[in-house]
């Protein structure tokens, strides 16, 4: 076990306190009854599903957001962080966050001036766990679909 001790650090990187906190107590969890937009996200390979609800005002600002579904700590924390992030943003800047998060999780460097990941940086621990990256991206793909009002579920494939 000692030889593997440094590796355990990677696990801690993945399951940071912030992630565990959001996984245990997801923010904005539940259906949004007066949502203007909604979309489902499906990970066809593991079967995880969640729904993202948005209330988008006429001026394009997301005034409220929530999510529903069951999933692993990573997908729930990611969805919870997402709702915290997008409330108050315009749909355009929410979409920039989608780009930035997907790029960061894919290990790509995006122009850092573009978007401040802030708390969302906590999701980056997943990069060392390639089989879990899709868990972290699921909510963001659903957000993208909700803003574009897609009728088809968004998928991680």
């Amino acid at each position: 076990m000692t030889a593997a001790a440094p590796l355990q650090e990677e696990l801690r990187e993945l399951y940071r306190d912030l992630i565990l906190d959001h996984a245990r107590s997801p923010r904005h969890f539940g259906k949004l009854d007066d949502a203007s937009n909604r979309a489902e996200g499906i990970n066809p390979l593991c079967g995880d599903k969640l729904k993202v609800y948005l209330k988008i005002k006429d001026d394009g600002v997301i005034s409220d957001a929530s999510f529903e579904g069951s999933g692993c700590a990573i997908s729930v924390a990611s969805a919870s962080l997402l709702t915290e992030t997008v409330i108050g943003l315009t749909t355009d800047s929410a979409l920039s966050y989608v780009d930035a998060v997907l790029a960061a999780l894919a290990g790509q460097q995006k122009d850092p001036a573009d978007v401040q990941l802030g708390k969302l940086a906590a999701l980056q621990g997943v990069r060392e766990f390639p089989s879990r990256v899709k868990c972290a991206t699921l909510a963001w793909r659903a957000l993208n679909a909700a803003i574009h009002d897609d009728k088809q579920p968004a998928t991680t494939e």
Binding site: A3, A4, L7, Q8, E10, L11, R12, L14, Y15, L20, R24, C46, G47, D48, S70, G71, C72, A73, I74, V76, F129, S131, R132, C135
Partner: protein, 418 residues
């Protein structure tokens, strides 16, 4: 090898420990730890004997089978048909014509649903399955019910994940035109009492298909003793290659069935006026078959026979008992599937940790388990859970593997402790 062996400490008593070195995949490090492979119910690791049988065939003897007069084609045909003979004797089929090579269990079930059931089913007829079936033994029947207007009926299971056999038997009547049932459940490990069930089905002349995917790697199987009409299995779950499996069918049943897929090898004569189909088993093997896959499966059977299925069964049931006992000691564990008769598999949940998170943490400790619904969503729905973590055993596992599993689970508990 006596009744007390479970009470002794770690040494494995069955004499199977040495066989680990036959499996090259087990001799590797994963994430800095020696691999503990507890995912054989999803797919087993092939022994060197299988890997080299496939490679040797490909390097020296490959050609298309049947119809060939040249040496390689003759060798390939002998090897391919020799694998059929081995399979026949392994499950004790009555004739080699009863062994149809398929891609796996799934294709075997589809073949029976489409060729045997579809042409004869009508509204009012029933297909009876159980609540513990794998999707591969559910969806083909849903499809054929939709195509014919027949009804899918489901026999219930109890809180231990056992079939309610009495209720299933009460569901048997003239309307039931197929009973499709797992030998062993892949999500729960429950072994179904097939002989009792099949003898009851006989009273109403109900054809019985057994999904044997999770049974053949773990216990002796004798299709004539079971008296089932069809038996389906997958090579990759019994230490053979992927892409190969077997549909066993009683010759009289297979003979009466129309072919399913059309193409080369399954015909005797083709003209635009009409086509004469080939005899068994070729009638159901359209196109060039998975020759190297069949040869690899034959080698896997040879390997299993060299050890002996009875010995394997004894070894595994000992390790399974140990695993269940050790898991049960962990605070916050919930065992899913605690039938009285079980093989190979233990599903579980730990605290409120999502199975995927458990899977990731265990993998980080070199312990490979499967997490999710295990293609048995109705089982998950029965227990009102989205999925489980599942550790499954094969002949190469031992008590050390179990200890590594429980150690890793304690790490997961620590990470997720509030």
């Amino acid at each position: 090898m006596n009744e007390h062996s479970q009470k002794l400490a770690k040494p494995v008593t069955s004499g199977l420990r040495d066989c680990r070195s036959d499996f090259p995949a087990l001799d590797q490090e994963v994430n800095g730890h020696s691999l503990v492979y507890l995912d054989s119910a999803a797919s087993s690791q092939p022994p060197s004997a299988v890997i080299s049988a496939v490679a040797e065939y490909q390097a020296h003897d490959h050609a298309n089978v049947h119809r060939g007069v040249h040496t390689l084609s003759h060798r390939a045909t002998e090897a391919y048909e020799g694998a059929r003979d081995r399979a026949q004797s392994f499950i004790n089929a009555n004739t080699r014509n009863e062994i149809i090579f398929t891609r796996g269990t799934t294709e075997a079930v589809n073949l029976v649903a489409q060729s045997f059931s579809r042409p004869t089913l009508k509204p009012g007829d029933r297909i009876l399955i159980t609540h513990m079936e794998h999707h591969s033994n559910i969806v083909p029947w849903q499809q054929v019910c939709e195509q014919t207007g027949a009804e899918l009926v489901v026999a219930p299971i109890d809180g231990k994940g056992q079939l309610k056999t009495d209720e299933l038997i009460a569901q048997l009547d003239e309307r039931v035109r197929m009973l499709a049932i797992a030998h062993v459940s892949n999500a729960l490990g429950s072994i179904n009492p097939l002989r009792e069930i099949i003898s009851n089905a006989r009273r109403f002349d109900i054809p019985v298909l057994v999904d044997g995917a999770q049974a053949v790697p773990h216990m002796p199987v004798d299709v004539q003793e079971l008296d089932c009409d069809f038996y389906a299995l997958s090579g990759h779950k019994m230490f053979g290659p992927t892409g190969i499996g077997i549909l066993y069918g009683k010759e009289a049943k297979l003979d009466a069935m129309p072919p399913w897929q059309g193409g080369g090898d399954m015909i005797l004569e083709v003209s635009f006026a009409g086509t004469t189909y080939n005899e068994l088993p070729y009638k159901f093997e359209a196109g060039t078959p998975n020759i190297s896959g069949a040869i690899g499966l034959g080698a896997a059977i040879g390997y299993l026979e060299s050890i002996g299925m009875a010995l394997i069964e004894r070894h595994e049931s000992e390790i399974l008992a140990y695993m269940m006992a050790e898991l049960d000691k962990i605070d916050g564990i919930r065992l899913i599937g605690t039938a009285d008769k079980k093989a190979s598999v233990q599903s579980f949940l730990l605290d409120d940790i999502h199975p995927h998170d458990l899977g990731t943490i265990l993998d980080h400790k070199g312990v490979a388990i499967r997490t999710g619904h295990h293609c048995a969503m109705p089982v998950m729905e029965h227990f009102s859970i989205p999925g489980t973590a599942r550790a499954s055993l094969a002949l190469y596992n031992n008590r050390d593997d179990v200890d590594r599993l429980t150690e890793a689970l304690l790490v997961a508990k620590k990470i997720f402790k509030k």
